[in-house]
């Protein structure tokens, strides 16, 4: 502490340096590092969502499941678990919206924006860390799935590809939640706005076959992005048995869902960047 009683300022005032600032990669890594520490040291963030999704799974598996027909020979647990895993990335992503809104609300984003770093790094770092968290959530969801009786009917490679596809979807939806977080103003508002994904989840083929829904709802279920995503994951994880339930080949759904993911990423990535750059 330079608290000695100095009366006159020293004649040789040190001139503060010009800070070059970190590059895109190292600043993204620093921002991501912060998020990873936050997740690791705030276990309630992860434990709570894990418990929530476990309860969800148990409810569908054991309470509602018996009344749901898969429309084929497949057991409901084999139908449900791929859908459950695919939607995990949406439930986890909601946390990103509240996290981003909280950072905006409490000046953290302003601080980062006042630093000599590429502004994109703030968003890139965030999305990388959140995607890492999503991988964790997906693995947990898969373990839960096996615990309630799910078995991979297709190839192991297919199952891994299914998980990889979920990570891609999660990364794409992450940008939707970042935009929600940036525009909502408060963490609470972000949480409420994030609930718009609920109809996407329930009006998809995640928990029940879309074919069982009344016309209108069914059409929405068929055209919205989550259904091809869930179908692709289900086809990959359950092999020919699951593919037989689908209207098209697994490859078709993989293609359609990847196109959706790319579109969502581009549109919402640009929205986030535009919102972030505005000043």
């Amino acid at each position: 502490m330079t608290d000695a009683p100095v009366i006159a300022p020293s004649p040789a005032l040190p001139r503060a340096a010009v800070n070059p600032g970190a590059g895109l990669w190292s600043s993204s890594a620093a921002v991501a590092g912060r998020m990873v520490r936050k997740f690791a040291r705030t276990p309630q963030l992860i434990v709570f969502t894990t418990i929530q999704s476990a309860l969800f799974l148990l409810m569908f598996r054991f309470a509602f499941g018996g009344a749901i027909s898969t429309g084929g020979s497949m057991s409901y647990v084999d139908f449900l678990v791929p859908g459950f895993i695919a939607t995990t990335c949406l439930w986890t992503g909601m946390g990103a919206a509240t996290g981003v809104a909280d950072d905006v609300e409490h000046g953290f984003v302003d601080r980062l924006r006042s630093l000599p770093i590429p502004r994109a790094a703030v968003l890139i770092g965030r999305s990388l860390a959140d995607t890492a968290l999503m991988v964790w959530a997906l693995v947990t969801a898969a373990i839960l799935g096996f615990a309630v009786g799910f078995r991979v009917a297709g190839s192991v490679a297919g199952a891994l590809a299914a998980l990889g596809l979920c990570v891609v979807f999660g990364f794409a939806f992450e940008w939707v939640f970042i935009v929600i977080g940036l525009v909502s103003g408060t963490a609470q508002a972000a949480q409420s706005i994030s609930l718009v994904v609920t109809p996407l989840v329930f009006l998809s083929s995640a928990y029940v076959p879309v074919g069982s829904m009344p016309a209108g709802v069914r059409q929405f279920g068929e055209i919205q992005p989550l259904t091809p995503m869930v179908n692709a994951v289900r086809g990959l994880a359950t092999g020919p048995g699951g593919e037989a339930l689908l209207g098209h080949s697994t490859g078709y759904y993989v293609g359609v869902s990847l196109a959706w993911a790319a579109g969502i990423f581009v549109v919402f990535g640009l929205l986030a960047a535009a919102r972030f750059a505005r000043r």
Partner: protein
């Protein structure tokens, strides 16, 4: 010498609200400058413009000679910002927060570590360096937040209401720290709603209202500029206050009475001779006087004279913090 800050005709509107309405300000290096003004005067908007967080609609703005409108990225290399909230990661230790921002400023791993050690010492947080920030007290959070903005040894440090919500002890500790920065080559621009803070911390005060600078100078200059001396009468019997007020109204202008404090005061042109007049008249009326004084106006009275509205209560007053946060 290049001014650390040079603003000409800055304007910024949000819909119909004009947050900045042609703000002009030049600040020389080596100063602690306080922007003082009522809520919504444009203080925060101005600081955000300097921090390159928002772009003014019109006007020019130079920070340490750098054009903030054309080259905002270069301005970010020489500033530090601490906003109204402690914007630090609660799940990280004080040291980790400092090192992270050091890295973002472009320091190498080793340099960032050294900078963190330096700032921890400066902020008197060395003993608590390795505790998570979520275990810090309010005053410590403010200090680590201030510290984070100092990791890059900025030429200009921007502080938006740095002591809002702090207890008096923590406030004066933070003031000492801020004052000591100027000696290390960092100039300070801060906003405050508290007159005592501006008076005790700043070398210069800039009063802002309706998006414009309405007065600027050292605290002493501002008090002189507001002009007139004040005669203040402290009566023994509050029942006499109205009569005293009438007497004062005859002698000076803008008389005010405060029943709770049993005081009345008035601004006068020619202090010492008027003081005698007041004493004579009050004596003639048989009004007992506890105390009578001739003094310079307080910054409070300056503020009232210049903006037409009283300043807010000092920090620590129960009403202060919450209303502030809700309205910002």
């Amino acid at each position: 010498m290049t001014p650390i800050l040079q603003a000409r005709g800055l304007t910024k509107s949000y819909g119909k609200t004009r947050a900045l309405a042609g703000l002009d300000l030049v600040v020389q290096p080596g100063r602690v400058v306080a922007l003082l003004g009522p809520n919504g005067a444009g203080k925060t908007t101005f600081v955000r413009a300097v921090a390159t967080l928002l772009r003014p609609d019109a006007g020019t703005l130079y920070v340490d000679g750098i054009d903030a409108l054309r080259r905002p990225a270069r301005v970010r290399q020489v500033i530090g910002l601490a906003g109204q909230f402690a914007a630090v990661e609660e799940a990280m230790t004080g040291r980790e927060n400092l090192e992270m921002v050091g890295r973002l400023f472009g320091l190498g791993r080793k340099e960032a570590r050294a900078a963190a050690v330096r700032v921890l010492g400066q902020m008197q947080l060395t003993a608590d360096a390795d505790r998570l920030v979520r275990t810090y007290s309010g005053g410590m959070r403010r200090r680590i937040d201030l510290g984070v903005s100092l990791v890059g040894t900025p030429r200009l440090l921007l502080l938006d209401e740095p002591t809002t919500g702090l207890d008096p002890g923590s406030r004066s500790q933070l003031w000492d720290t801020i004052r000591s920065l100027v000696r290390t080559g960092t100039d300070v621009l801060l906003t405050t709603q508290y007159l005592d803070e501006a008076d005790r911390l700043a070398s210069d005060i800039v009063i802002i209202d309706h998006g414009q600078v309405i007065a600027a100078g050292t605290p002493a200059e501002l008090k002189t500029r507001a002009g007139d001396d004040m005669i203040e009468v402290h009566v023994r019997d509050p029942g006499h206050l109205p009569a005293v007020r009438d007497v004062l109204a005859e002698i000076g202008h803008d008389p005010r009475a405060d029943a709770a404090q049993r005081r009345a005061c008035v601004a006068v042109d020619d202090g010492s001779s008027r003081l005698m007049d007041v004493l004579r008249v009050l004596d003639g009326l048989g009004i007992a006087v506890e105390d009578i004084s001739l003094r310079r106006p307080t910054l409070d009275e300056v503020f009232l004279a210049l903006t037409g509205q009283p300043a807010v209560q000092p920090a620590g007053a129960p009403s202060g913090t919450h209303t502030k946060e809700a309205s910002s």
